[in-house]
Amino acid sequence: MNNVIALVFWGWIGVILYHIFPQKTNYRLFTIGSLSLLFLYYVTHSLLVFSSVVLWIALVHAASYFIQKKWIYQTYIAAVIALFVSFKLGLFTTGDHNILLENALPVGFSFIMFHSLALLFDRANKVIEQPVKFGRYMTSALFFPTLLIGPFHKFTDFQNSLNSNYLYKRSIHGYCLFCMGLFKFAFSGIFLKTNFLYSIPLTEQQATASLRHPFTIMLILSFYLYTNFSGFSDIVVGLAKMMGFDVPLNFKFPFFSCSMAEYWRNWHITLGAWFREYFFLPLNYRLARMKLFKSTQVTTKLSVFVTFLLIGLWHQLSLKMLAYSIINALLVVFLFPKGSTTRWISWPVTFFAVLCINALFLSDSVGTFIKLMESFYTNSATIAEYTNPRTLRNILFAVVSLLAIYLCEKLIDRLSDYNKDIDKKIIAANFVVCIILLFFGITLGLSGVNAVYVGY
């Protein structure tokens, strides 16, 4: 069963219930909580796993009550890290399958882990002073749209959304995001993957194919990753907003960044924010207090390095992700760290760096990535590919679609400020855009489109 289809199905049930039932806090908590539990059972298909997850949530909740006893949450952190490492090392793997990841917990492990750690840290740092109620915490942790691949949202934000009034602007914005996400996701899988990539991750054979220029492959890989991941995120955020919950956006025009630091502020924003708030800042603070280095800049750079190492290894315990995290850390620290005065120099350089790291991310190994880079020199037969009318047509369609995605995102972004009055023309334009996006999103279809990020 395609996770996205399940999410859309259950999400729309949630939206309809939100509009039918009275919009009081307890009603909403009950409907969303019930739907989240049902969804969890639906994706896990196992009473044992379902109970284990609920027990896990209950244990975290209990730990948050006794937060003054440090050993409790320190033990919890150690246990979570041990479980996480065992996941990534594939201790539950039999043959080609990871039993837990594919059958039991195909989704949600990372999200629940981040969510629980954030709660414990917030309680320990007294950001949340009062003990949280179990029902609310469980609904927040298992909030079903975000259970698959995030975006990560905090418990406090969830609670605020729960108590907030109905906002028609939020609903319209959510709907537009949903249409946009559906289109992007379908576009990534059906079009980019089918016509250009054939299979993900990139294999050595594809990387060295004689009729494909490496730069084209890198461009397509990056756009594929972006449309796939941000498409999924937009569907999630859109559904959540239509249900009255403000879940933060995960992407903000990342390809227009002029430095790698800016790129990471605009790409997978919520993950970056989590690591910044709960890992990078405390680490930097402690290192600064220890006064290991004279310069605070060196301390910050070291913290950046360690943070990226952790982000990389969180994705996967492998040589590829180690290289990925080190390259990222180096780029963040040394590539236009304070931005450049001339945008026309910094943007192309950053863009190329982004293409490289995304290609590495989607390669099956470091060797494949190196082969891809080598083929910049060895590959000369590029004309044949581009003179094929079918390829030209596909490229034209890809360029037009990407341009359309950019313009539509800009248009939908105009709806994101709920405090401003929105021009009726903007609403009308969004109305038309949504019809077009939904039309192509549904007719392109989601069958066989896989979310790249679900594995993490």
């Binding site: 399940a6 509009h19 991750p201 294999t203 054979q205 034209l396 369609f397 109305f431 939904l438 392109l444």
Partner: protein, 380 residues
């Protein structure tokens, strides 16, 4: 009207417009192009079923041949009946086209045939079913996982099965139902879709709609072919406009580079995983095949499994990376059906093949002639 109604109106109206547009386009094409996939499915199964009273007038002397490949028809449609009839064997042939290779289609068809024949208690003299171990791999399985998960091959032929499916998996059922008119959710299409990604389809044709996205270049958007493939069970199929196009494609395909790339693509799609390792056979597909053979044994006195040869280059790859005897032996052991293995019986060259796993018309004739002679000996 308060603000809440404004957003509800926005969403509801938008959904209404979008789905109207989708309905309009699909409806337009389903009228303009008379062959939606579902209709084709019904026509093809229907044709066989309609003809059954005729072909099964004397089932006890009739041999039923079930071919299992769309390619065989797509490139050079062979005539299975003629060689058998020439050898004095009364026969009827039927090609399962897309559904055949992965077992479920065969299972569904045999279910139907069994239902049909259990009424009059008559059995065919023999049923010959093609077997293709290379297709019974995990890649094929994954490609059809959605359908296999549903676990009921009748879903696409029997409306009552929708109810059971809805109870088992409401989201999938709703999704399939909403898109039931669309080929993307028909298992025939799933197979076609996989082929579209490969080289076999990647020749220039005449797109009718938009002309910019491959998705709109699906078979149903093409004009009707000039050929009459009705007799092969391909009623309503849209093929490239002429045989010349096929010949051009064929010549292009046998250029050495293209041929090598195609073999690699083919084998990657049919046996190797991304890292070059053999994927292993998918037991559930083999089991479906075994069940299908067992069903066939209920409406036939003899069941033969025919293994046709692969292109020599491809055979080398298959010998190197896979163990095809495993499938053949397993099916034979569990069903006690006779395997007629022609893997090494002919001296074919690569040029005798339409592609890696499919014979040209002329080569297929040779296979069928040999089969006819073999059967004649067996029937004595």
């Amino acid at each position: 009207m308060n603000k809440k109604h404004l957003s509800t109106l926005f969403i509801v109206l938008n959904l209404a417009f979008s789905f109207s547009a989708i309905y309009y386009v699909i409806d337009h094409f389903s009228h303009a192009m008379p062959n939606t996939i579902r209709k084709k499915s019904n026509q093809r199964f229907g044709k066989l079923m309609r003809n059954l009273p005729v072909i099964s007038a004397k089932p006890e002397v009739t041999t039923l041949f079930l071919g299992t490949s769309i390619f065989q028809y797509f490139l050079y449609p062979p005539d299975f009946d003629k060689p058998l009839n020439d050898a004095g064997i009364e026969s009827v042939s039927y090609n399962l086209a897309f559904e055949g290779n992965f077992g479920l289609g065969l299972y569904a068809l045999n279910n139907r045939l069994m239902g049909e024949f259990s009424k009059n208690q008559k059995k065919f003299k023999a049923v010959i079913i093609e077997i293709c171990p290379a297709s019974m791999n995990r890649r094929t399985f994954n490609r059809h996982k959605l359908m296999i998960d549903v676990g009921n091959p009748d879903v696409f032929m029997n409306k009552a099965a929708w109810k059971d499916m809805f109870i088992a998996d409401p989201a999938t059922a709703t999704y399939l139902f909403l898109n039931s008119h669309m080929p993307a959710f028909d298992w025939q299409y799933l197979e076609a879709y996989a082929f579209i990604q490969g080289r076999i389809y990647s020749f220039e044709r005449k797109p009718r709609f938009a002309g910019i996205a491959n998705i709109w270049s699906l078979p149903q958007f093409y004009e009707r072919p000039e050929w009459n493939l009705e007799k092969f069970g391909m009623s309503g199929w849209n093929l490239p406009a002429s045989q010349i196009e096929f010949d051009q494609m064929q010549n292009k395909m046998h250029e050495p580079d293209e041929w090598k790339a195609m073999l690699a693509d083919y084998f990657r799609g049919n046996g190797l995983n991304e890292n070059g390792g053999f994927m292993g056979y998918e037991e559930s597909l083999i089991n479906y095949y075994i069940e299908s053979v067992k069903l066939a044994q209920k409406f036939a006195d003899n069941v033969y499994l025919l293994k046709v040869p692969y292109a020599p280059d491809f055979q080398q790859l298959a010998d190197k990376f896979s163990y095809e005897d495993y499938v053949l032996n397993k099916v034979a052991a569990q069903t006690s059906a006779t395997v007629i293995d022609y893997t090494k019986s002919f001296d074919f060259k690569d040029a005798d093949f339409a592609d890696a796993m499919h014979l040209r018309q002329e080569s297929m004739k040779q296979v069928m002639t040999k089969l006819a002679h073999d059967l004649k000996d067996r029937y004595k």
